[in-house]
């Protein structure tokens, strides 16, 4: 509708109509924003299987003598090792500055790649810039499966 005919049309209160149109457009805009916003914000939520860190499980049959199996539990990198038939679990974070240590099967030691700290197979520090041991992690063994909860 052009402006000339709009001005002549005095009986239908153009200001009312204009306000109605504005509200209708605004309402549709809000509804559309909700229709897009709700699924998108929901999508960005943490999926259930990722937010529940749950428990770490290691079948003992997979753990050979002198090797390590790494896993994640509550944001920590956990090393499960088997030395002389004995199973131990350590938090892999080096107590020096938090780098994740590596298991070296040949020497039976944990070595930190950042500043060269060395830990024995029971977590005790043996060399490098660190006095504290690796944090040992409690676990249960049930039906030949090691669980950290």
């Amino acid at each position: 509708m052009n402006n000339a005919s709009h001005a002549q049309d005095s009986s239908s209160k153009p200001s009312d109509r204009r306000r109605f149109c504005k509200m209708a457009i605004g309402g549709m805009a809000v509804a559309s924003a909700g229709m897009v916003g709700y699924p998108v914000t929901t999508f960005l939520k943490l999926p259930k299987s990722m937010s529940q860190q749950g428990s770490m499980e290691v079948p003992l049959a997979d753990l050979a003598e002198g090797t390590a199996i790494w896993g994640e539990h509550l944001g920590r990198q956990i090393a499960v090792i088997k030395v002389d038939g004995q199973v131990r679990a350590f938090n892999g974070a080096c107590p020096h500055l938090g780098c994740v240590v590596q298991w070296e099967g040949a020497t039976r030691t944990f070595k930190c790649p950042c500043h060269g700290a060395v830990f024995s197979d029971n977590g005790k520090p043996v060399a490098g810039p660190v006095n504290a041991p690796l944090e040992s992690v409690p676990f249960q063994i049930q039906d030949d499966v090691l669980r950290i909860t």
């Binding site: 699924p39 998108v40 929901t42 999508f43 999926p47």
Partner: protein, 219 residues
Amino acid sequence: MRVLRSIYQGLDDRYQLTPLIEKNVTRKWVPRTLGWSACFGGLALLVFLIQVFTGILLLIYYKPDPGRAWDSVTFIKSNVPMGWLIQRVHVVGANVMIALVLMHMARIAYFKIYRSPRELHWVSGVVLLSLTVFLAFTGYLLPWTNLSYWGASVGTEIPGAIPFVGEHVVTWARRGPGISGETLGFFFAMHIWVLPAGLVIFMAMHFAMIRRTGISRPL
């Protein structure tokens, strides 16, 4: 509302936004005989923007690795809240986008809008159609299902019919003799970066040309 208005007022005082908006949106002159069929091009752009947006969302979980691609798409569809919706919108959007581009082109062809001075509009439009089809084709492989594997297998075989260079084109497009993890990585890079970037560049040219020549008036 008052806050928004004063923010707009402040920006308007500094950058004179109102005349810009009036010229391009609220008081823009278009031929009065323009019908709803003139919307197809703009709708194709809208669907492209939806594809970019949903594509970025899917990228949060998708893993372009033959061992994990299918699992990650299944994870999106069944574990991520509303993931099924975002994934479906992206899939359906691809089909809708191709349909809209074809409807747009059909209108341009039917009303002979491609004639001088708008020949290059048509040429850039054909490039845009090709890029859209390639986007859909590369995206089809990404879920790494049987269907997408064979789809990519048959699709990449088509240039094999080109005399002399055909076989080389097939091997190049597959990154090897057959569809493999290398193909997946290549298609992924094409799908999320190269083709959309090309699409944006050609869209910018397409729109700039339309701005210069104006919208075609019906005969």
